[in-house]
């Protein structure tokens, strides 16, 4: 069954409702009462609000009207999974559990899930919905920090990564969740759920790529619940195709003394937006958010981060760096909220941007809301060009100007990449970064 979902004009989103009516009964878990209700409610919220416009503060600098104009197709059930070579998207020596989704659906044939220790569940959301849907109820019901796109996702979501770690379980190998889109006009709503019970630990790579040059829309939501003293690392790699739209929400709930470490690397898509929001639901939480966006041409990239210090003794660090070339446009909005109860909060946020061309643009806005008095908070944002002294230094060492500029751009971006904790992944990212720079051949042995 093919279902064309015209993603609604802003004034009349009803076609989405019509599409929902048409396909709802075919979605995984359609017979699960709580889920059906949740989907209907999410749809109603979406229909009522419609797609955001630039009149809304959170979407002021990111105009998604082009998205509304395209007819998108939800991936279909009966279609044969396209043949995709995922090798180019995997990382040598990483030893990860590879979980592949093609056009929004789990592909057992392309996935390689190794032996898992007791207390660890790694599966596709569609499978869990078919067998033990109750495992997902709490995560699906959470709406903290959600946007209108999360509602759209909630209404149509059919698959995604499910990872559950029982108390005290450390997942030895990282999980590589690979989302490959292959066809034009596909819309995929991946819904990922990661639950780490007390003291559990894992590292998950959420990787979005395109096989070919299709124009499509990814609307992903990742819900992460980190239990007491648990620790989750999440590396989001957005390498969508040049004609793709990518919108993603990563929503984290942190329990007492838990730790969340995030890297968000955005290189692809015509337009991308990522909302990464963590809430400290108890004392002593730590969060580290690092991000890098490196774009050129007419690309548009938007990051919104939020650290909600609701409880005392929390520590958060956010460092986002952007490199914008040609006529690219970047948006960064980083929020820190310190609630009245959150004494002894230690929060820092920085956003640094490098504009490589006169027509590149960045709108950056760090925001601090502090309602507690015994806290240590700071923020800063910079926008600049390559350092003239550093360029001169390299040129005085016989390095040609183009290579010198590439070296300094790499040095600027490397600051974020070096925070990626897994060496094989870091090395691959360094190579990806270098390949994006001019003089790539000369820069091969840089590190």
């Amino acid at each position: 069954m093919m279902a064309a979902v015209a993603l609604a004009s802003q004034t009349a989103p009803d076609p989405v409702a019509a599409d929902f009516t048409r396909i709802a009964s075919a979605l995984p878990g359609a017979n699960v009462a709580w889920l059906a209700k949740l989907r209907r409610q999410a749809l109603e919220r979406f229909v009522e609000r419609g797609l955001p416009t630039t009149r809304e503060e959170a979407w002021k600098y990111t105009n998604i009207s082009a998205l509304a104009k395209r007819p998108y197709t939800l991936g279909t059930k009966s279609d044969v999974t396209p043949v995709v070579d995922v090798a180019p998207f995997t990382f040598a020596d990483l030893g990860a559990h590879l979980v592949v989704f093609v056009d929004g659906r789990f592909s057992p044939a392309l996935s390689r899930i190794g032996a898992l220790q007791a207390g660890c569940t790694l599966a596709s959301v569609a499978d869990v919905l078919a067998r033990e849907p109750e495992r997902l109820e709490a995560a699906f019901a959470t709406r903290t920090g959600h946007t209108i796109f999360s509602d759209l996702n909630a209404a149509f979501a059919r698959d995604g990564l499910y990872l559950h770690l029982a108390a005290g379980v450390t997942l030895g190998e990282p999980v590589h969740a690979l989302f490959v889109t292959t066809r034009d006009d596909v819309v995929a709503h991946p819904r990922n759920v990661i639950v780490a019970e007390a003291g559990a630990r894992a590292f998950v790579i959420e990787h979005h790529v395109s096989a070919g040059a299709a124009s499509y829309f990814t609307n992903a939501v990742t819900q992460i619940d980190i239990g007491t003293k648990a620790s989750i690392g999440h590396c989001k790699l957005q390498q969508e195709g040049a004609r793709a739209f990518h919108i993603a929400g990563v929503h984290i709930a942190q329990r007492r003394s838990s730790r969340f470490e995030s890297q968000s690397i955005a290189l692809g898509a015509a337009l991308s937006r990522a909302d990464i929001a963590t809430a400290f639901d108890d004392e002593g939480c730590e969060a580290s958010l690092a991000g890098l966006y490196l774009v050129g041409g007419r690309q548009h990239v938007d990051h919104h981060t939020l650290v909600d210090h609701a409880k005392p003794n929390g520590t958060s660090r956010a460092l986002y760096k952007g490199v914008l070339d040609d006529g690219a446009r970047g948006v960064f909005n980083g929020k820190i909220i310190v609630r009245p109860d959150a004494q002894k909060t230690d929060a820092h946020l920085a956003n640094h941007n490098l504009l490589l061309s006169k027509s590149a643009e960045i709108d950056t806005k760090p925001e601090l809301t502090i309602d507690a008095d015994d806290v240590k908070c700071s923020h800063g944002a910079t926008v600049g060009q390559l350092d003239e002294t550093a360029l001169f230094y390299l040129r005085s060492r016989a390095i040609d100007p183009a290579t010198a500029r590439a070296l300094l751009t790499y040095a600027f971006a490397h600051d974020v990449v070096e925070r990626v904790p897994l060496a094989p992944l870091r090395t691959a990212l360094e190579r990806t970064l270098l390949a994006r720079l001019p003089q790539a051949e000369r820069l091969r042995d840089i590190a």
């Binding site: 001169f392 390299l394 005085s396 016989a398 100007p401 360094e430 840089i446």
Partner: protein
């Protein structure tokens, strides 16, 4: 006492600076500077802070933020000012920076190899492969008592003051320049580091190579003994002499030179 105009004239001078005038941000820093340096010579340029010493060093290396408003610079008989910084480097001009730049994520060995191979390409020589380069660099590092690990760390990142300056001299040793300009290489060095760096500089002295040492203090000149000492004040060289001039400056400061210059200017006006 030797002076600039009595220098030996056999062969072509390495560097001839004539009436050089330079502006930085609309401020006139150099006002008619003259200097001639022959192969094999070591010249020290001394002077009070703000006299234009560092400006001279950077203009010779091609810093574009500085605007040459008058005069000329001939290097081995060619117009040096017409060349871009990287072209000067490939032609054998080297500047050791007062404040070497940190470049995170770019390994020191990468930069060194890229620099050496850029020069070799320019000379029409075969580029060195990784093995050849490592054996070359290890030999040069011995000269400077440098730890191997500094090769694989990011360029100057987290280096101590002494390590940064040694790294500059290491670059000089690798690039084998015809004209080396050392900008305040002694600043920020403790006595041990100063001795090591000086040993490195002395090892690179040769009849074919000229050096210009820019320094505020005489200290470095105890170890690297110059053939000529020049005093730069108000954008011009106001006094030249032999190595004993540096000692006199150390003992008497720069004030007397300024007075003497003022007197000479007044006499010339009569």
């Amino acid at each position: 006492m030797p002076s600039n105009d009595k220098q030996r004239t056999s062969g072509e001078p390495m560097l001839v600076v004539r009436d050089l005038a330079v502006k930085v941000d609309d401020k006139q820093i150099l006002r008619g500077l003259d200097l001639t340096v022959n192969p094999g010579e070591v010249h020290a340029i001394m002077g009070p802070n703000g006299s234009g010493k560092s400006t001279l060093a950077q203009v010779l290396a091609g810093r574009e933020a500085f605007t040459v408003t008058g005069g000329e610079v001939r290097y081995q008989g060619h117009d040096l000012l017409a060349l871009a910084p990287e072209e000067r480097a490939r032609e054998g001009v080297f500047l050791a920076f007062q404040y070497p730049v940190e470049i995170p994520g770019v390994s020191n060995v990468y930069l060194l190899k890229a620099a050496v191979n850029a020069v070799r390409r320019h000379r029409g020589e075969q580029e060195l492969d990784a093995m050849e380069f490592l054996s070359l660099i290890r030999e040069k590092m011995k000269l400077l008592d440098m730890n191997d690990q500094l090769l694989f760390r990011s360029v100057n990142e987290g280096f101590s003051g002494g390590e940064k300056k040694r790294n500059e001299i290491l670059q000089m040793a690798l690039l084998e320049p015809a004209l080396a300009i050392l900008d305040e290489t002694d600043s920020g060095l403790d006595i041990d580091a100063l001795q090591v760096v000086s040993k490195g500089i002395n090892a690179l002295r040769s009849p074919e190579r000229a050096m210009v040492l820019v320094t505020h203090y005489q200290r470095l000149l105890d170890y690297v003994v110059p053939d000529f000492v020049h005093v730069l004040a108000h954008g011009r060289i106001v006094k030249s002499g032999g190595k004993e001039l540096a000692l006199e400056l150390e003992a008497r400061g720069y004030g007397w030179i300024e007075q003497e210059t003022a007197r000479e200017t007044a006499q010339a006006a009569k």
